[in-house]
């Protein structure tokens, strides 16, 4: 799956290598490889399929939401902060509704998508019509949704969810027997993540809508002059973020098999950090699905690695902090260097006087 910006680059050879070296994804992939080798050297259990599938499954919730974050960052400007609150509300409400009325997983998923999209679309409309920065609007809606959830439900934890979530969680596409006599296999949850990645990639690189998102991130006024309906594109992006939050909510429910009202909220900055580390620009117009995937993967491996290496999970936050601070500093420094080396004038070699 290649990034949208260079998806159409055809020339190979030296040019391609140079382009590769310029890309964030390349360094991120190298970093992940090194990290994997380090962890494996100390604890070979890291590379076992069970472990890999395990942390991929856990990372799926963040990974699905990260695709939405990528869309918002490409659209331009400051990130949305409300998507975790939306996921939280959706999770709680869907669990309550399915407990009360039954249903099946498809209906639950549809319901979650609809609710999420509607809540996300509100952000899009408010941002577009009132011309207020995303960060303020999304703080407002996040507080409103999340606060309302607590007020209306009393914030009590639901320990028993509809049995279909458990069935869904235990469903395995391929199963193998393990040494202990149990089974392990590929569950549907990482596949939900994969499907989200493919959908995101398809929209960004293969549809006009996707290119319009890039166009608005690059130069909104020019996009308008080209004839792009900026209202529709903006509302779509925020509704899509909400929709993915709904999907993430379902994934999360099937993993934890409960509804705890503060189990998703609070992760938003970490997810944004992963997407930024994956090469998405806070100035808009730049970012790839590959990078986003790698960013989420890096954090997932870090978390998993610390567990396997028996290092206190306290160090997880420190390592994430170092990763993000170092990542942004390095890329900022590179940008400064490029800026200084820019050719403003083609200076003639010698004065021909």
């Amino acid at each position: 799956m290649s990034g949208p910006v260079s998806a159409h680059s055809g020339s190979l050879g030296g040019y391609a290598v140079k382009a590769l070296l310029k890309r964030n994804e390349f360094y991120l992939a190298v970093l992940i490889l090194v990290l994997c080798m380090l962890i494996t050297a100390i604890n070979p259990a890291f590379l076992s399929p069970q472990n890999i599938l395990g942390f991929l499954k856990t990372a799926s919730v963040n990974g699905i939401m990260a695709v939405g974050v990528l869309f918002v960052l490409i659209l331009g400007g400051t990130p949305d902060l409300s998507f975790t609150a939306i996921a939280q509300v959706v999770e709680y409400v869907v669990v309550l509704i399915t407990l009360a009325f039954g249903g099946n997983i498809v209906i639950a998923l549809l319901l979650a998508c609809l609710m999420g999209a509607a809540m996300g679309a509100v952000n899009g409309f408010v941002i577009h019509y009132f011309r207020v920065t995303t960060i303020i609007v999304s703080i407002a809606t996040a507080n409103l949704y999340y606060g309302m959830l607590y007020v209306l439900t009393g914030g009590s934890v639901i320990f028993i969810v509809h049995p279909m979530f458990k069935r869904f969680a235990e469903f395995q596409l391929v199963s193998f027997a393990d040494a202990a006599g149990g089974t392990w296999g590929i569950s549907l949850i990482p596949l939900m993540w994969l499907a989200t990645l493919v959908l995101g990639w398809f929209i960004l690189t293969r549809t006009f809508l996707g290119r319009a998102i890039f166009a608005m991130g690059g130069n909104e006024i020019a996009a308008q002059r080209i004839g792009i309906n900026t209202l529709w594109v903006r509302v779509f992006v925020f509704a899509f973020v909400g929709l993915l939050s709904g999907v993430a909510a379902i994934a999360h429910t099937t993993i934890v098999l409960s509804a705890i009202p503060n189990s998703i909220v609070g992760k938003e900055l970490e997810i944004i950090a992963a997407v930024v580390l994956g090469g998405a620009s806070l100035f808009g117009g730049k970012g790839t699905i590959t990078g986003t995937f790698l960013g989420v993967l890096l954090f997932a491996i870090l978390r998993n690695g610390l567990v396997l290496l028996n290092i206190s999970s306290y160090w997880y936050d420190v390592s994430v902090g170092i990763a993000i601070t170092a990542g942004i500093s390095i890329s900022a420094w590179q940008q400064l260097k490029a800026q200084r080396a820019r050719v403003n004038v083609n200076v003639e070699e010698a004065a021909a006087q």
């Binding site: 020339s11 290119r211 004038v345 200076v347």
Partner: protein, 495 residues
């Protein structure tokens, strides 16, 4: 020739302000039609209406004799009208191919895109314009010249009938304009018309078939090129005659203020040496991309030079920051008044005091209000800035008055060397000469002035010496008092 585009009695208001009050004019198929007018005359509003970005309040817009009721950008592109905006309106984060093809893809209304189609559209457009740029390059990484070519290619994608060029010479070099017009002339046989919007009258006269003047939202008339000249055009758009006098530097012994030797900066300029004496106005002329502004930015410490010496008043100065430059006695009125010169939302007073605020502080480190107000009042008065009081936001001022604020800010620092970069861009013709007069007055008091401008006549008329730059190097020095404007113009173009 038939009229391709016709506007009848167009009115347009923005929340209470009438921008257009009955505009009538027409563009014939295959002609180069120029639209001239001062700032606020309604040129940009007119472009918005022609391009479908905004609807007119009333009046008729006819294309090929057919009235258009609901104009949208897509509709107008569909009917063959393409606009190259002053800022080029490119998407810096996307590839060349996409930038060229995207408006056509939007017009066709494709939901899914095929990269092969995008590349085909882009190739076809480049073939029409007869240039070749790597389709996969990201536009933001291209030099400005190539970016402009991308914008031009984009206009040549569809069935082009009318190409609107909005102040193109602000961003295109003359060679590029010539190249563009050659392409257009080649296609005149197909009936393609050009609407050229500009305030540079000498350029207009060089290319127009017909000229329409716009003043205060009304058309003041359309004349064929053969029946007009610079004076008549000026009078048409300002409503009054303007006379230019040449700058003259009285002969007398003068102190050397600035000595620049072998100043170089990689990818910007090389081996620049010149002197500046008190009371002089030294012009620097050259095409866009010659390195004029880069030289000024190095002298002013924004992007310091790599090597060479700068000596002010006999003292060698190391200039690594703006603070160093101001300390050495430099002042710089930048190229772009709106983004570099002013803090638009703040008051006239704040803008004037900005460079001197540390000097306004008392022993306690607090701003002495009396000193600050005194400073501001002095410069509002002596530069005759037309403003009710100094607390008015600077963005409400006219272009000429805004530029006086920038100049005032720097004269307040009592500079030894005042560098002016395009001091009258976007300033009305009448206001231009008064700004030139201010500069001459301060030169007469002993300030050394370096005058940089796109407009060769501005440099030629207002300097005693002109340095001609090309490709980052100084090529020649001209005594502007003895050599004519046209000759200097010719030297700038050939280098």
């Amino acid at each position: 020739m038939s009229n391709f585009l016709q506007l009848r009695n167009i009115y347009k208001s923005f929340v209470g302000v009438r921008a257009l009050k009955g505009v009538d004019f027409s563009v014939r198929a295959g002609e180069v039609h120029c639209l001239v007018g001062e700032n606020g005359s309604g040129k940009s509003t007119l472009i918005k209406i022609i391009s479908g970005v905004q609807p007119a309040d009333s009046g008729e817009l006819l294309i090929d004799g057919v009235g258009i009721t609901h104009a949208t950008p897509n509709e107008m592109i569909h009917r063959g009208i393409q606009v190259i905006y002053q800022d080029l309106s490119l998407l810096p984060n996307l590839s060349v191919a996409e930038n060229i093809a995207i408006s056509q893809i939007a017009m066709i209304g494709r939901k899914l895109i095929r990269w092969s189609e995008i590349r085909a559209i882009a190739r076809a457009a480049m073939a029409r314009v007869k240039i070749d740029i790597d389709l996969d390059k990201i536009v933001g990484d291209l030099p400005v010249g190539l970016q402009q070519m991308v914008a031009i290619c984009r206009a040549f994608t569809s069935d082009l009938k009318l190409l609107v060029l909005d102040e193109p010479t602000s961003s295109l070099t003359k060679a590029e304009i010539d190249n563009l017009l050659k392409v257009v002339r080649d296609m005149q046989a197909n009936g393609i018309a050009v609407l050229f919007i500009s305030h540079k009258l000498n350029e207009v006269l060089a290319i127009a078939d017909r000229v329409t003047g716009l003043r205060d939202g009304c058309t003041v008339g359309t004349v064929p090129r053969a029946e007009t000249n610079l004076e008549k055009l000026t009078e048409m758009i300002t409503g009054k005659a303007v006379v230019h006098t040449r700058f003259h530097l009285p002969a007398q012994p003068r102190k050397k203020l600035l000595e620049v030797r072998n100043l170089s900066k990689k990818h910007n300029f090389a081996d620049i040496s010149f002197d500046l004496y008190e009371g002089e106005i030294l012009g620097i002329a050259g095409l866009i991309g010659a390195g004029r502004t880069e030289l000024a930015l190095a002298l002013f410490g924004i992007s310091p030079a790599d090597s060479g010496t700068i000596t002010v008043d006999g003292q060698e100065r190391r200039i690594g920051s703006v603070q160093d430059a101001v300390e050495a006695g430099f002042a710089y009125v930048p190229e772009n008044r709106l983004t570099q010169g002013l803090v638009l939302k703040r008051s006239v007073g704040d803008n004037i005091a900005m460079a001197m605020i540390d000097k306004c502080a008392n022993a306690w480190g607090m701003i002495d209000r009396g000193r600050r107000t005194g400073l501001i009042d002095t410069w509002v008065r002596s530069l005759a800035i037309k403003v009710a009081n100094a607390d008015v936001a600077v963005q409400t001022l006219s272009g000429g008055n805004q530029q006086r604020v920038v100049i005032g800010k720097w004269l307040a620092t009592e500079p030894k060397v005042l560098i002016l970069d395009g001091p009258t861009v976007g300033v009305d013709i009448a206001a231009k000469s008064s700004i030139h007069q201010i500069v001459r007055d301060y030169a007469a008091r002993g300030t050394g002035v370096i005058l940089i401008s796109d407009e060769v006549p501005e440099v030629a008329i207002n300097s005693n010496r002109v340095l001609i730059m090309r490709n980052g190097r100084l090529r020649s020095e001209v005594n502007a008092e003895a050599v004519g404007t046209d000759e200097i113009q010719r030297m700038v173009e050939i280098g």
